[in-house]
């Protein structure tokens, strides 16, 4: 399968009528992050810091590119979520129960949040 096919497969499985078909939960502890149908599916290319950073690579944050997100207009739509301190006009989102993250980011200008499909569990 090509990258495009994988992307389509993900979207078919987790997206329905443009929003999240399933509950969005923390991959590690299962804490509920979003109710069904509360995030709007969007495609955009963002560099998100890796959840686990290798300490031996000094003073350099390691990133990966992420392309698929659930867009959340109002932060109070979240069931359970953590917001980090602000860096470069953005706050990163983390699990409110086990603090795993970033599972997405929050834009300080627009006050919109984006949850990365690949960083959460869909149930």
């Amino acid at each position: 399968m090509s990258d495009a096919d994988i992307k389509d497969a993900v979207e078919n499985e987790y997206v329905e009528d443009g929003s999240n078909k399933l509950l969005v939960k923390c991959k590690f502890c299962g804490s509920k992050i979003l109710e069904r149908k509360s995030g709007k599916f969007v495609r955009k290319e963002i560099d998100l810091p890796l959840m686990e950073q290798d300490k031996r690579v000094e003073a350099k944050v390691q990133y990966e590119k992420i392309y698929q997100f659930f867009f959340v207009e109002n932060m109070y739509t979240f069931e359970n979520i953590g917001f980090t301190h602000t860096i470069d006009n953005c706050k990163y989102l983390s699990c409110a129960d086990c603090d795993a993250g970033p599972v997405g980011y929050y834009d300080m200008d627009t006050k919109h949040s984006y949850v990365a499909l690949s960083r959460v569990k869909h149930e």
Partner: protein, 203 residues
């Protein structure tokens, strides 16, 4: 997505001396030897948690002071809009307990006067290092007519329960207000200030 998915929103603050474990109440993750999580490097500003109380879906927005207490810069802007305050001391550190009185004064000066307060004696897993007895914690809470609980963020004792109880106390105060602000009714329903006994579910 515009529709509101909750009934009430409560803003809660964590207050107390440095080192009492406020940040641990909000942040529990610990790093291992070779990796560090990106999140623990930056730190948490606030969390949103959803609880259900008496059939109502309530969103709690919980804020940490982010070390501002070190510079005594906790003023009106930090307290703005706060409906509940967790006042935290460390049961292994006498000074943090003595400072509770100072924090209460600070809250009186800067916070909304009907803000709901609760005192937490944190680090109750460290019994061998305890210097503040549970009775003294209960006594100071009773004296000021506020709730009290001993907690351990590290062992996850009473943390969830403390937040639910604080939320419930705020719910008691706001009950009636949402039903189109019948002011007379609120005045009648408002309960007198008191420190309820520790609840069975939590201890």
């Amino acid at each position: 997505m515009a529709k509101k998915t909750y009934d009430l929103l409560f803003k809660l603050l964590l207050i107390g001396d440095s080192g009492v474990g406020k940040t641990c109440i909000l942040f529990r993750f610990s790093d291992n030897h070779f990796t560090t999580t990106f999140i623990s490097t930056i730190g948490i500003d606030f969390k949103i948690k959803t609880v259900e109380l008496r059939g109502k879906k309530i969103k709690l927005q919980i804020w940490d002071t982010a070390g501002q207490e070190r510079f005594h810069t906790i003023t009106t802007s930090y307290y703005r809009g706060a409906m509940g305050i967790m006042l935290v001391y460390d049961i292994t550190n006498e000074k943090t307990f003595d400072d509770i009185v100072k924090w209460l004064r600070n809250i009186d000066e800067h916070a909304n006067e009907d803000v709901e307060k609760m005192i937490l004696g944190n680090k109750c897993d460290m019994e061998e290092k305890r210097v503040v007895s549970k009775e003294r914690g209960e006594a100071i809470a009773r004296e000021h007519g506020i709730r009290f609980m001993e907690t351990s963020a590290k062992s996850n004792i009473n943390i969830e329960c403390a937040f639910s109880e604080l939320a419930e106390a705020i719910l008691d105060k706001t009950a009636g207000r949402e039903a189109d602000a019948d002011l007379a009714r609120i005045a009648v329903e408002r309960r007198p200030s008191r420190a309820p006994p520790a609840r069975a579910c939590c201890s």
